[in-house]
């Protein structure tokens, strides 16, 4: 009588370790190894004894500060203009919304270097918008910290928009109806009801956006250039360090890895704990 019972148990608990068929277990194990081994190698080969001195040089401190500041600014800009855009994509009835969404998400699939070139063509000193701006005001973006922020915003904002749009679609719109019957106009409803309801989605989007901005490389090096203190972010520093001092590059990569893990920690409730 025991055998059928145990069969029934394993069927009722498909998530249990014993419930994973070998045909899935093997490729899954390969996937895990493939994703985890490089990170483990980074830890194994890390110059632990000299880590402190490698990371305390002025260049590294500058790069780290620049990365954190620019990524935070990029996230802030993305929040200010990205959340309203997400609302338009999720809620408005305007025509061509599908096309708009596709356009907005193009930076997700565009090679970042191409994004950088596109930014130069638009906002560079000879760019479509940049040239009139430069001749009128003498302001030009490339090779400035502003350009770093713009490049990061370009690449990272779609992550925020997608995340917030998803939250808006999932949110129960009847709460907005309830707010309307209580006398709240659309602006107040958005501020005091919709926004708090989608706050977890906005937070997750902001974290993703920030992490992507922090890891930005291609668009930055193309549009903003590479000058210490002004435009040389952590990722550019890593790339340059690989040329001369691989140990320093590994040390810097560890810092970025630590930031990534922290980011995942913040997203844990949303993704890792999902069953």
């Amino acid at each position: 009588m025991n055998a059928p019972v145990s069969v029934r148990q394993s069927r009722s608990q498909p998530d249990g370790a014993t419930g994973v068929p070998a045909i899935l277990l093997i490729p899954a194990a390969i996937a895990v190894a493939f994703l985890v081994l490089p990170l483990a190698a980074l830890l194994v080969r890390a110059p632990w004894s000299t880590l402190g001195s490698l990371l305390s040089t002025p260049e590294v401190r500058d790069a780290l500060r620049l990365s954190v500041v620019s990524a935070s600014l990029a996230t802030l800009i993305s929040l200010v203009v990205g959340v309203p855009l997400a609302w338009v994509l999720a809620r408005s009835q305007i025509r061509g919304r599908g096309v708009l969404r596709a356009l907005v998400t193009v930076p997700l699939v565009l090679p970042p270097v191409v994004g950088g070139v596109a930014l130069l063509l638009a906002l560079g000193r000879r760019g479509v918008l940049g040239e009139p701006l430069y001749s009128a005001t003498g302001v030009s973006f490339p090779f400035t910290t502003t350009a770093v922020v713009l490049a990061q915003t370009f690449v990272a904002m779609p992550f925020l928009i997608i995340s917030v749009e998803g939250s808006l679609r999932a949110a129960d719109r009847r709460y907005e109806d309830a707010a309307a019957t209580l006398g709240a106009g659309r602006a107040m409803t958005f501020r005091r009801v919709t926004l708090p309801l989608i706050a977890p989605g906005v937070a997750a989007g902001a974290v993703l956006c920030w992490a992507r901005a922090l890891g930005e490389f291609g668009a930055t090096i193309t549009f903003a250039g590479n000058f210490p203190g002004t435009t040389r972010t952590m990722t550019l520093q890593v790339y340059l360090a690989l040329e001369t001092d691989p140990d320093a590059a590994i040390a810097l990569s560890l810092v970025l890895l630590a930031v990534s893990i922290l980011t995942l920690g913040l997203l844990r409730d949303r993704w890792l704990m999902r069953t």
Binding site: D172, Y175, D177, T181, L182, G183, R192, P196, A199
Partner: protein, 350 residues
Amino acid sequence: MSLSAHVVIQRGSLGVDVALEVKPGEVLALLGPNGAGKSTVLRVLAGLARPHAGLVRLDGQSLDDPAAGIRLAPHRRPIGMVFQDHLLFPHLSTVDNIAFGLRARGSSRAAAHTVAARWVARMHLSEHSSAKPRSLSGGQAQRVALARALAGDPRLLLLDEPLSALDARTKLDVRADLRHHLGDFAGATVLVTHDPVDAMALADQLVVVERGRVVQVGTPVEVSRRPRTDYVARLVGLSLLSGTAHGRAVLLDNGASVQVAEASNGPVFVAIRPASVGLYRSRPDGSPRNVWPATVAGVTPYGETLRVDLEGEVPLTADVSPEAAAELDLVLGAGVWASVKASEVAAYPA
């Protein structure tokens, strides 16, 4: 504070056309099966849905007048609404939920808070004043939702299935509570429900809606005594038959004949209460003149008794005690005899 509405709106394949009048202090219940269009009517009154035609006027002011191009946005209407699952804002405390409408309508933070605090006390929610909705019981949440709708001092109160989210036990208390608060409310109230008990207990006036149309209007007593559709009859627990009266005999549409208490002539409805139907294993002798053979089509518990659905020339519902049911051996498909005294049969003009 009277509401006069004629709502015409297409909802998918359902065309809704409902007219209703509510006087100040009066509670009107829109009663009908799911999908009949009741909630749609309520959403139009709230301004959440746009009618295609008709007119919604509150105290002489037009809220909706499609012909004249008038449509007042929901947040500009002097209304309060209680939603089906209450829809309390999950991120706000009890007192902030109640104060929301006051703040939205321009009260200062302090003034809104003062009024909200009064409602908290009045609804016996003082212990839960700073609690978030998720920690409230169903009954408490219902009171918060009602307070939130009433705090803005609306002229029209709309209740969308206000009791359906509650379990049966809580429902009794909350229904009594709600009845009490509605009694204090000076404006017009429109209540949507599919539960006849809620409608009977809370409403002064019933409007029965089926498939987007009004099928019966009246006081709860009128409607429950003299249902005009099968749906209403079943709701109020009556068997409804239709036929033509010739004096004290009513010839049913299917050819059977029923003896009734009062003489009349012409088309009539015949209503029979389940408790007045007697069941027998063999044809009873003696006085009852209404005796028909029937077949048991269903037996379901109904309170202390069993409710027996009967098929035959006169389809009926009978209530019997469990002892009687055992004695009669009421299994599905069993043949029985049903009898009703003529004095227990009501006929009224169709």
